[in-house]
């Protein structure tokens, strides 16, 4: 996928491990805050969720994600790096569909920036889902 903010299919444990090595060479980063969103096997009126198929307006995702990163960096000056990856395509229940990682000098800005990034991803990223039962 040509878009650094999107990945085809689930965000696998292997991909998570790889993403988490980013910034490992920054010895000024004392705090790493990570949020991973996963597909739940919710029981609904239509049955138990087996998977979610995500779609995105890929050409718009980059601009919006870059705007989120800009806002986070401006609001939390101690932040050193921001990683956002969202799945497109089918992600089964139990698998991850969203990865956010913030590295920061100290914990305060990092944990707050992580939560803020998460809220903005939900609000700003042009992504849609369709449950598969």
């Amino acid at each position: 996928m040509k878009n650094r903010y999107l990945t085809a299919g689930p965000i696998t444990p292997l991909l998570i491990s790889e993403l988490m090595t980013l910034g490992n060479d920054d010895a000024g980063a004392g705090a790493v805050s990570v949020f991973i969103g996963k597909v739940r096997d919710d029981e609904t009126d239509s049955g138990r969720v087996k998977a979610i198929e995500y779609s995105a307006y890929e050409e718009m995702v980059s601009g919006e994600a870059e705007e989120i990163v800009r806002i986070v960096r401006a609001a939390f000056s101690d932040v050193r790096s921001v990683i956002i990856v969202h799945s497109v395509g089918i992600v089964r229940s139990g698998e991850a569909s969203l990865f956010i990682m913030i590295t920061s000098g100290h914990r305060d800005h990092g944990t707050r920036a992580c939560r803020h990034t998460l809220e903005m991803v939900k609000e700003k990223l042009p992504v849609w889902k369709k449950e598969i039962y």
Partner: protein, 78 residues
């Protein structure tokens, strides 16, 4: 009158329109919105926003040849 623009349908709007894209003619985004709602009544149930050339529309905008309009149901990422 009006110019030809490309319309992209996403998420539930894609299902309501029965297609992912098409070409339509309009002179501004407000008349375009009305035309789309008339063409696809099922879209009335979706509180969609529109993006013009990848930027979320705020208010009305005139259209130019080759503009890309995206029909965006509420985002559901995360």
């Amino acid at each position: 009158m009006g110019v030809e623009v490309r319309i992209l349908y996403f998420g539930a709007a894609q299902e309501a329109a029965g297609k992912s894209e098409e070409l339509l003619t309009a002179d501004n985004t407000t008349t375009l919105r009305t035309a789309i709602l008339e063409k696809y009544p099922a879209l009335a149930g979706i509180p969609f926003r529109m993006a013009l050339n990848r930027n979320l529309l705020k208010g009305d905008s005139l259209l130019a040849e080759n503009d890309i309009i995206a029909i965006l149901p509420p985002f559901q990422g995360g």
